[in-house]
């Protein structure tokens, strides 16, 4: 229970369905960051308030150390290698549906439940009924074993109905903003977060076509392919020179150079193929493969040949380290990490 409306309603539904429910707040992160107070203590109090009103047991499980080791350190090393990892996917794989799951099983639970928008159909992960809220992009790496002991109580509900149900049952918290994944990603930019752990290292921004130096940056690791904002070009932030903004198309980590372009048609950006690593494929029999390249992104038809995803039409290349998630209809088959 995060203190948010989704997990609160989930707990309530389980209680109503007759389960013996224990609410657990997972403490994964508590550190304040520049310009952002980590809301963990308030979230914890909100979660506990809901548990008390439902009349269920409530516990706090502290995974702060493990979260740092398995999610944050992974993230930092990926960024240092020039990639753009997704901490939510890692958190689900390593913490929520692994450590939390294992501890719950040890404690004698039959199931774990979360407030994710996703379904489980015949033991397979599937997209939520509320397509606008579907979170399977973040869940594709969780194990089959965890899935077989997981309940998503709001799997078939629409977000507005979840909110309404919360209100009707006095579970809504009028003062609460919607929580977004891990606490630091939502509120501070990733760059601010990284700066806490990685020293700035000034370097050049070059135009990819001409090699001309057009500005300077604070360290190539802080920039993501496709990024347009926060580029110090000609002394101005995100300056529009000739009608078109520069955006990041390439990084040279060794020389600490960020390459930018104004050419939106650059073949660095538009590709037919993506190489993947660490592929998970839960069913080799695929009827109609579609692929999602970001959370709630368009479902793009593709074929998987070995470790290569092939697209009929060119796609805008996602940053390395992001995930491509596979679907067959509404079933989530797995996915891989983009090289």
């Amino acid at each position: 229970m995060s203190g948010g409306v989704d997990s609160s309603v989930s707990a309530m539904l389980l209680k109503q369905q007759g389960y013996d429910v224990t609410g657990v707040y997972m403490k994964n992160w508590s550190k304040d960051l520049p310009g952002m107070k980590c809301p963990w203590a308030e979230d914890l109090a909100d979660a506990k308030r809901v548990a008390v009103k439902l009349g269920i047991d409530f516990e706090v499980w502290d995974f702060e150390k493990e979260y740092f080791e398995r999610v944050v350190e992974y993230m930092l090393s990926e960024f240092k290698a020039g990639n753009t990892p997704n901490p939510d996917i890692m958190c689900n794989q390593e913490i929520k549906f692994k450590l939390f799951f294992e501890k719950a099983m040890e404690r004698g639970a039959d199931f774990i439940a979360t407030g994710h928008y996703a379904r489980i159909i015949d033991g397979k992960l599937a997209r939520a009924v509320d397509e606008k809220k579907d979170q399977t992009y973040f869940l594709y790496r969780i194990s089959d074993e965890a899935i077989s002991h997981t309940i998503f109580p709001i799997d078939e509900m629409l977000k507005p109905d979840v909110k309404k149900l919360a209100e009707e049952n006095g579970l809504h918290n009028a003062y609460k903003k919607e929580s977004m994944g891990v606490c630091f990603v939502g509120e501070v930019g990733m760059k601010d977060f990284l700066k806490e752990y990685i020293d700035i290292q000034p370097g050049e921004i070059r135009e990819v076509e001409t090699e001309k130096v057009v500005g300077h940056h604070e360290g190539a690791v802080f920039y993501t392919i496709g990024q347009r904002h926060g580029l110090y070009i000609s002394g101005n932030v995100g300056e529009v020179n000739s009608g078109l903004p520069y955006y990041v198309v390439k990084k040279d980590l060794e020389k600490n150079i960020v390459y930018v372009s104004r050419n939106l048609d650059s073949n660095l950006v538009w590709v037919n193929e993506l190489e993947l690593k660490d592929i998970i494929l839960k069913d080799k029999k695929i009827n109609n493969l579609t692929v999602r390249l970001r959370h709630l992104g368009e479902l793009i038809p593709a074929t998987l040949e070995g470790d290569t995803l092939k697209f009929e039409n060119k796609i805008k290349r996602p940053a390395a380290g992001q995930s491509a998630v596979f679907y067959d209809g509404e079933i989530c088959l797995g996915g891989g990490i983009i090289l």
Binding site: A41, E42, L44, A45, K48, R49, V52, K53, G55, F58, V60, G170
Partner: protein, 374 residues
């Protein structure tokens, strides 16, 4: 609403609110400006400081107005130029955390939360320059024997002088919780530094004061225009101090009546509540009631009672929010499960007898509900 958390915050006294009002718009002048209307504001500001000072037996110039008690506590520790500090194990974090910056060492308390004077004696070595002991504790309401501590300190000072040891020894006390419940007089208490807090005495939040005796040299909290005897530069918070003064005046006027009222309400509560252990049995402020329901998670009671419009607390409001166990209750020797089951009720001017009967009933009901959950 039945508000039983007056140690966390108090509503601003109506008369104080009225007194403040003109200083936001009509009499908004900067007290440092040269023209007469500004001089008038400066004068009224000084008078208000005088009222606050008078209530503790001091003069306006002995007070440094701050933005609350935390800042006053921090400023008090700037007396430490070299040397160590001692503080009571049960101090508020605004003392504990500062003391940690000055190699602070904690003095033990007994099971009632009172200072262990032998432990204090043993710990006052020649390198100690400041000792900080709150007049009344913020979680238990325990009143400390400040004048006894002060006379002990006087002996140490004399002894130091006789041996040619130059380091001074100061006594600081945070009187935030006590000012409207006890007669506070700096000479009688024997303190060199005393922290006051407007927000706990029905004055506005964000205003406090540090009484500084003439012997103590402090390092300024901020540099600038030289306000507050040069110790805290910055344009004066005129409405805040006017409101603080009025609140203090009212508190002094009603001190005895209120104490009697709280003692009576406390008696009613304790007789009507069921199945509890009283934690703060002795030496406690009249309005503090700390109950222990061993085996129950008292934080759950907060949420159950909140639904019924009854507002209570498990300890310091700041600690309660962070899931950290109370260092105060640990210091008086409570077990983890007893700490978990402890509920703090603090009475105040918003309460009457009818409310207290109702509160007792609702608390009993919540406790029964939690117990039945098993």
């Amino acid at each position: 609403m039945i508000y039983l958390d007056h140690a966390a915050a108090t509503p601003v006294n109506k008369k104080a609110l009225e007194a403040m009002r003109p200083y936001f718009d009509e009499d908004f002048f900067n007290p440092s400006a040269a023209y007469l209307p500004a001089k008038k504001v400066a004068h009224e500001y000084e008078e208000a400081k005088g009222v606050i000072a008078h209530a503790i037996g001091a003069k306006a110039n002995d007070l440094v107005i701050t933005a609350g008690a935390t800042e006053a506590n921090n400023l008090a520790f700037s007396a430490v130029l070299d040397g160590r500090v001692l503080y009571l194990a049960t101090e508020h974090d605004s003392v504990r955390k500062v003391a940690e910056q000055y190699s602070g060492e904690a003095i033990e308390v007994d099971k009632n939360g009172r200072i262990d004077l032998n432990d204090l004696k043993a710990k006052i070595t020649d390198d100690v320059i400041l000792i900080s002991v709150a007049l009344a504790n913020n979680e238990l309401g325990t009143i400390q024997p400040l004048s006894e501590i002060a006379s002990l300190i006087r002996e140490v000072r004399l002894n130091r002088l006789s041996r040619g040891v130059k380091r001074p020894l100061y006594l600081h006390s945070d009187a935030s919780q006590a000012m409207n419940l006890l007669n506070v007089n700096v000479a009688r208490l024997g303190v060199d530094l005393l922290t006051l807090n407007s927000a706990k005495v029905y004055g506005p939040k964000g205003v406090g004061a540090l009484y500084v005796s003439h012997d103590v040299k402090l390092k300024p909290a901020s540099y600038g225009g030289g306000q507050e005897q040069g110790l805290r530069s910055g344009t004066e918070n005129v409405p805040g101090v006017i409101g603080f003064a009025k609140a203090v005046e009212e508190a002094t006027k009603h001190l005895n009546g209120n104490r009697k009222k709280y003692a009576e309400l406390k008696k009613i509560l304790l007789s009507e509540l069921k199945d509890y252990e009283l934690v703060n049995k002795k030496h406690s402020l009249d309005n503090f009631i700390v109950l222990c329901y061993n085996g129950i998670d008292a934080e759950r009671l907060i949420f159950l009672l909140e639904d019924k419009g009854v507002y209570v607390s498990t300890g310091a409001a700041c600690a309660a929010n962070k899931g950290a166990k109370s260092h105060v209750l640990a210091a008086i020797g409570l077990s983890d499960s007893e700490i978990n089951g402890s509920l703090r009720l603090t009475l105040g001017e918003t309460n009457d007898e009818e409310q207290i009967h109702e509160a007792a009933r609702l608390i009993n009901e919540a406790v029964t509900l939690e117990k039945s959950r098993g």
